[in-house]
């Protein structure tokens, strides 16, 4: 008391402090302002920020705090947060690759159970999207916010110089490779960035129901099945005919390949068209077209999901679920994200919007979104396994040995089988 008197001075100041204190406590108790923390990465953070005004109309007293980290850092932070239950956000955005990894444990709330009951909205989502977030036990661990339908982007001018048309690319894998040989001979451009891209697609064709990419439902290893052999054979054919530029995605050489027109096609998610337009190769506007993937293959490249952690603050879970529903089931917000960030909607109700019929200037006025919309109906969800990331690495390594050192395909795949069998059940 003595100290406070000396520090604060006169009696008048003393009563003034009391008034301030009373005011502060009144304000904080009256509003009971809540804050929901949403963890995301670029560009999902932009989509969420753009959705805040809509949220405020529903819940004016609930703030949304967006914690955005770079892609890999975000997922590492989520792994750490889930493992220690510290600093868990109320809602977390996850990319499809990580959903599989996190789905196996019990860290994310099962949205199929009450009070979430996401299954009653099942028919509103693109079928494969919800299946991608479902783990082997049948739990739906996340809600799809956007998806990435696979497409074949190709340079129509290079194709024209080689005297080819789109059907020669898409009719079958063999015709795709033959077209590549002709393109190389006439224009000198590579067919694709890396032979691995070929392998990535072909292994996804012919997956039986209930099977994962590398493992089946009982954790048996599938890498010696025919789809892998065919994938490796086609990739080897591409390399033997020198049709790939041997550049990895997202490197400087890869983007230079687009800028300089040395790569004729890229199998990728539909979102790459936006990236090419914005920063990868804006000067090539009008020269690209989009087609379906060759040989009637349909695959997904990427996709964002929103999940609620089991250990997230319980008092916010109801609001968190409302937020997730708003982001994934609100037609306007899904379309807004599509128009501004190229985030292809997972919500079927958006598919009748005239935006799909708008020509895309970068693709020479092509109404590519219609084709992508059709593709979403045909994509089959692939079940995920805990060791998928490791299997990916092993198969890529064996492919490198086949391509660079001429290793025999059967030997490579059986080596991969041996490595994966040791860890399939860990």
């Amino acid at each position: 008391m003595q100290l406070s008197r000396r520090l604060l001075g006169s009696r008048r100041c003393h009563s003034g402090w009391g008034l301030v204190l009373a005011l502060v406590t009144a304000v904080t108790s009256a509003a009971a302002q809540q804050t929901l923390t949403v963890a995301a990465f670029p560009a999902v953070d932009q989509i969420i920020l753009a959705a805040i005004p809509t949220w405020k109309k529903l819940h004016p007293d609930v703030d949304i705090k967006v914690v955005s980290r770079q892609f890999v850092d975000h997922h590492t932070a989520m792994t750490t947060a889930l493992s220690t239950s510290f600093y868990l956000p109320d809602v977390m955005a996850l990319e499809v690759g990580y959903v599989g990894r996190f789905a196996q444990g019990g860290g994310l709330d099962d949205l199929a159970k009450p009070p979430y009951d996401i299954k009653k909205h099942q028919s509103r989502f693109v079928p494969y999207a919800l299946a991608q977030a479902t783990n082997r036990a049948g739990a739906v661990v996340a809600a799809p916010a956007d998806i990435g339908p696979g497409t074949l982007l190709y340079r129509t001018d290079i194709l024209g110089k080689a005297g080819l048309d789109e059907s020669s690319l898409t009719r079958s894998w063999d015709s795709y490779v033959d077209a590549g040989i002709k393109i190389k001979a006439t224009t000198g451009a590579y067919l694709m960035a890396h032979a691995r891209d070929m392998k990535d697609i072909v292994i996804r064709a012919g997956i039986q129901p209930g099977e994962g990419l590398y493992f089946d439902a009982k954790s048996n290893v599938l890498v010696t099945t025919p789809r892998f052999v065919r994938a490796f054979e086609l990739a080897r054919k591409v390399r033997q005919n020198k049709l790939d530029a041997k550049v990895n995605a997202w490197t400087n050489e890869w983007s230079e390949g687009f800028k300089r027109g040395t790569v004729a096609t890229q199998m990728t998610g539909a979102w790459l068209a936006g990236h090419l337009n914005n920063w990868l190769a804006p000067d090539t506007k009008g020269l690209w077209r989009a087609a379906q993937l060759p040989d009637n293959a349909f695959a997904a490249y990427g996709g964002t999901f929103l999940a609620i952690a089991r250990g997230a603050p319980a008092q916010h879970k109801a609001l968190a679920w409302e937020f997730v529903q708003m982001m994934t089931l609100n037609r306007d917000l899904q379309l807004r994200a599509f128009k501004s960030q190229d985030a292809f909607p997972a919500l079927l109700e958006t598919y009748d919007d005239p935006f799909f019929e708008q020509p895309i200037a970068f693709l020479g006025g092509q109404k590519a979104r219609l084709g992508w919309r059709d593709a979403t109906q045909k994509i089959v969800a692939v079940s995920v396994h805990k060791q998928d990331a490791f299997a990916d690495e092993v198969i890529n390594t064996e492919l490198d040995k086949v391509l660079d050192r001429g290793k025999d395909i059967q030997l490579a795949l059986s080596d991969a089988q041996r490595l994966l069998e040791k860890r399939a059940r860990r």
Binding site: F102, G106, N252
Partner: protein, 311 residues
């Protein structure tokens, strides 16, 4: 005055209070992770299920690690990188230090500073810069090689095509070794320079009077006197080399490179934890690496320890 005197530390407590910041940080960031990692090495843990999901599995993680092909592959890579980056560090640093010691007097500090500079810069920043220098089509190193190839007398020694430093498994290892060598050679020069300055000049004068040439003096006087410092430097190189992480991690984009050519054990155990979500095996591997480093350090000790009998 009352306030100030109540805040004054008594001499009984002062030492502990002053030591406590370091001790606290060391306990939190040094001892706790070590202890937790040792505990974790005996557990099986699916990290995203939370801390309660750990269950005891005994030595299973260790036996898995010892049978894992990739673990042995990473140890081989690490040994290769440690040797190829470590040996030149010392083989170059000793004559260089001797040369600086005998030739420069006024410029010595500047020259030593220039060699030492790489050691004090950020490893990550250097690695990022080097990865763009090593770029196949646009990097300066390939540009330099191309220019040198044009020189008539020298050209036949150099490759005609651009070397794919970062993606080719045969070339990523020399690239990493080059960066590590460049970084630590200056550090070793400083160490050896300090040791050289402790050798008394009389011994050299006596040797000159006995007719010993410069080369003989180097091999029979300088090197044996440097032995304790070589022991120290080699131990540091062994420990640092076996724990190599930052340079290969940045250069290979965090994945260990094509055919895991650049994957050191430290990178592999990091990937085991954060990419493959197997924290138990990663912890077991880190302790196995500790055993390897310990064994190598003991061997170094045996090799360089002053042997009383020979003196």
């Amino acid at each position: 005055m009352n306030l100030l005197s109540s805040l004054r530390l008594s001499p009984k407590w002062a030492p502990y209070v002053f030591v406590s910041p370091f001790l606290l940080l060391f306990l939190i960031f040094g001892v706790f992770p070590l202890a937790f990692s040792l505990y974790l090495a005996f557990q099986s843990w699916e990290p995203t299920s939370g801390l309660s999901a750990m269950h005891y599995v005994g030595f299973e993680n260790y036996s898995f690690a010892l049978q894992d092909e990739w673990f042995w592959k990473s140890l081989k890579n690490t040994a290769w990188l440690a040797l190829v980056s470590g040996v030149p560090q010392h083989v170059v640093a000793i004559p260089l230090a001797y040369f600086i010691h005998s030739s420069f007097s006024r410029l010595r500090n500047g020259v030593v500073g220039a060699y030492f500079l790489p050691y004090i810069t950020s490893t990550v920043a250097i690695s990022i810069l080097f990865s763009s220098l090593f770029s196949t089509d646009f990097g300066l190193i390939n540009l330099g090689l191309r220019v040198l190839h044009e020189i008539p007398g020298l050209g036949w020694l150099l490759p005609a095509q651009a070397i794919d430093w970062l993606n080719d498994p045969d070339h990523i290892k020399p690239a990493i070794s080059l960066i590590v060598f460049w970084r630590y050679v200056g550090f070793n020069v400083v160490l050896y320079l300090a040791a050289l300055q402790t050798i008394p000049k009389d011994i050299y004068e006596a040797a000159t009077m006995d007719g010993a040439g410069r080369l003989q003096q180097f091999f029979y006087i300088t090197l044996p006197s440097l032995k304790p410092m070589i022991f120290f430097g080699v131990t540091l190189s062994v420990i640092g080399g076996m724990q190599l992480f930052e340079e290969p991690f940045i250069l290979t984009g965090g994945r260990g490179g094509s055919d895991q050519a650049g994957m050191t054990t430290a990178i592999y155990l990091y990937r085991m934890a954060f990419d493959f979500n197997d924290f138990g095996a990663a912890s077991a591997m880190s302790w196995l690496l500790f055993v390897v480093v310990g064994a190598l350090t003991w061997l170094t000790n045996r090799a360089f320890r002053p042997r009383d009998a020979s003196h």
